[in-house]
Each structure stands twice: as structure tokens, then as C-alpha cells.
Point group: C2
Chain length 191, copies 2
DNA sequence: GAAAAAAGTTGAACTTGTTCAACACTCTTA
DNA sequence: TAAGAGTGTTGAACAAGTTCAACTTTTTTC
């Protein structure tokens, strides 16, 4: 069954009765995304939440100076959305792009909002997931302010070995908040 | 009533029945914190969540090099905790210190966890608050990577005018991720 | 109200990271 | 299979931000 990965992921966060889990998952539909295709484009309003079955995505924004800023990467077993645009129904400042041919499970915003009301476990699930995500962002901001680019690079490599092997150095640099030229120089130093 | 501010803050996020709100709030107890006193010290496990009634707090960590990194400031109407330590019951990497004589309302972790189970509205409240906080952290990380120190400084001044008037330049610098000497030079440039 | 401590300022030398331009390399894709 | 686009590397000049030390001003404390 194609939704096994999703179910496992959910149960890692909160307990669900078999029937509640089945019902919740029934609202997700599968979608294939080709390499380089966009799931969400800056300016659009985000009307879905996604869960990655396979492949890899990059979530990034482009600032006024034209520089790309990668917020995060999402591979298998990660969740995917622009939560700012999703919650406030405002134009997204983020792009979500597939870095390779990928499969996702999507749930529509209106379905998710309805499930909050009818299924207490769904409310709990996203409370727990949001709090865990919050912790991750806080840790990242601390790293970003207290570590040098070189330290951040090595931390990224060891924290996400699967991701670092999939994405290009340019993209890693934009995640770290440095230029790709400088990353290239850092890698040389290492040896 | 001393809990009016808390009630208003809650109702800004989600609807509560009068009785549910009354019950939830009954678990909060008031505490006075003297200037410079710590509500939480790095290494301790966080067993409470707090809501600021008056005064001002700084939430910061000290890294291996001995540098302070300010994660955020909390004044009246803000929430207060180390969510990482609270959720995982791991030693906190954060310090929470009063910058002036302050009043907070605290709720114990065990009470909060129990309320998640008995009051669906509490679950929803923290789901919504966590998601809003998540949005704020994402925005901050984008700023931190795409703006210069000078731009970040002005953004901070305009986003939190009440806070910037209360805290010292050293503390603002540690929030911005720069040295206080450099901030002093930035301020000079402005004129 | 004096002494001590903390906060802010300035300058010079230094380190970290950027910019721009040139070149080599590897994929696509026609 | 040639062309083109994207990726990685390198160097030189430059800009952003740090470090350390000295000094002034403000705030705290006894």
C-alpha cells in the first residue's frame, strides 16, 4: 500500500486508532512531480499540505536582490508546505521545486481544516509536529548565529548525510547563507 | 482580575467556552521575578510554560566560545519557555532572565499535559500558537540569511519598537548575531 | 555620594565572506 | 555529436563584520 510510509510517520508522532488513521489518510492523493517542476511558486496561495514519498524537494525564496535563499530540503518522509501562506492564505514567498522525479501525497487545505474539527487526533498530530518543527527552527537559528560558515557546513553534512549527497553545492550554499564560490573555497581548505 | 490579559491572548488565537477558559486559566499561578533573576538556567530541565504580565525577559544561550546568543525577547503578552527542554525533558540550552522587575503567570508541565487530554480547546490553542510561532521563525531565518546586519537592525527597530526601547544595545546586537562594537558603528553610519 | 560595574564609542589591524570574471567539467538535449 | 546550460574552481580586489584595547558615559550598589 502506497500510504504505509505516511501512516508510519504519523504514528511516530501520536497514537491513532486504526479507523481514525484510515480515515485521515483517505484524504491524501498521490501526485508525481517531474524533476525541476514546481509544486508551489512564489506569489501563489498555498492550498495543500504534502508528504514526500520519494525524490527530493527544495523550498526556497528569492529576495529583492535576486538571491536565492534555501529554507530547507525535503526528501522521503518529510512534510512539505508554505505554512505562512497556508495559514494566512496570503501570497507565498516560497517556491517548492522538485530536484528529481518525485512522488508526494497531498491533502487539500479545506479537508485538513475540516479534519481538525472532526478528529481530535489530527489536531494533536499537528500540534506535536508543529512543536517539533519549532524546536528544529530554534536550533537552526542558534547555529546560524553562533557558528561560522565552515562549522555550519560540516554540521549540515553530518545532520543530513542523505540530503547532502542529493543536492548540488550551489543549493547547499544557499541553505547555509553563503555564496557557492565561498563554499568551494571552504571545501578546499578542509584538505 | 489578574488573568484578563491571559484570557484575551488566548481568545485571540482560538475560541474557548467561558467555562473551559476559566478552568484552563485556573491552573496558572502568578510569580514575581526580580530584575536580573533567572526563570530558567542553561542545564536545568524546563518544567513550566509562562505568560508575561509585565516587565521584560531575554531568552538566550551561551555557546562554547562564551558568546551570548539572544533567541528572543518577551514582554507583556508574550509566552515564555524552552520548548525543546519542555518537550524532551532534556537539559535546557537556554537561559531565561528578567531584564527588569516582572510578573508572569506560570503553568506546570504536568498540568498542561493533562489538559491536552481533557480539553480539546487546549490542544487546538497550542496547535495554532505553535504554527504561528513557526511562521515567525521561518521569516526570521529568511531575514537572517538575506539581509545585512544594518537591514536586520532597522527591521528589528520597526518590528519591535516597544522592545527596542527597553533592552540594551549589547542585547540587541546579540539578537542580531553581531558584536556590540559593530552595532555601535552601524548606528553612527545612520546619521 | 563615592566607588564599582556595566554600557556605549572609537580606531587600527585583522578575518570572514563577497563579487566578478575567467576557465574547466559534466550533463542534457536537439 | 555539437551546442548549450548548469555546476564547480580559482584568483584578485573588495566589503562586511570581528577583535582587542583604550576611553567616556551612565547606571548600580553600598
Amino acid at each position: 500500500m502506497t500510504k504505509d510510509l505516511l501512516k508510519k510517520n504519523i504514528l511516530k508522532n501520536v497514537p491513532f486508532s486504526k479507523s481514525a488513521l484510515e480515515e485521515f489518510c483517505s484524504y491524501f492523493y498521490e501526485k508525481s512531480i517531474h524533476k525541476k517542476a514546481f509544486v508551489l511558486v512564489q506569489g501563489e496561495v498555498c492550498k495543500f499540505e504534502g508528504f514526500v514519498l520519494s525524490g527530493c524537494f527544495r523550498i526556497f525564496s528569492i529576495d529583492k536582490k535576486g538571491n536565492e535563499n534555501t529554507l530547507y530540503f525535503a526528501t522521503k518522509d518529510w512534510w512539505l508546505m508554505d505554512i505562512d501562506s497556508f495559514m494566512n492564505q496570503s501570497p507565498s514567498v516560497l517556491n517548492i521545486q522538485a530536484l528529481e522525479d518525485s512522488q508526494v501525497l497531498l491533502i487539500d487545505r479545506k479537508d485538513k481544516l475540516a479534519l481538525y474539527e472532526t478528529q481530535p487526533a489530527v489536531e494533536k498530530l499537528f500540534r506535536v509536529m508543529s512543536q517539533k518543527a519549532l524546536i528544529a527552527w530554534q536550533r537552526r537559528l542558534i547555529s546560524s548565529n553562533s557558528l561560522t560558515a565552515k562549522e555550519r557546513y560540516h554540521k549540515f553534512l553530518t545532520t543530513y548525510p542523505d540530503i547532502s549527497s542529493k543536492v548540488s553545492d550551489r543549493q547547499i550554499a544557499s541553505y547555509l547563507g553563503i555564496t557557492h564560490e565561498f563554499l568551494s573555497k571552504l571545501k578546499k581548505q578542509k584538505k
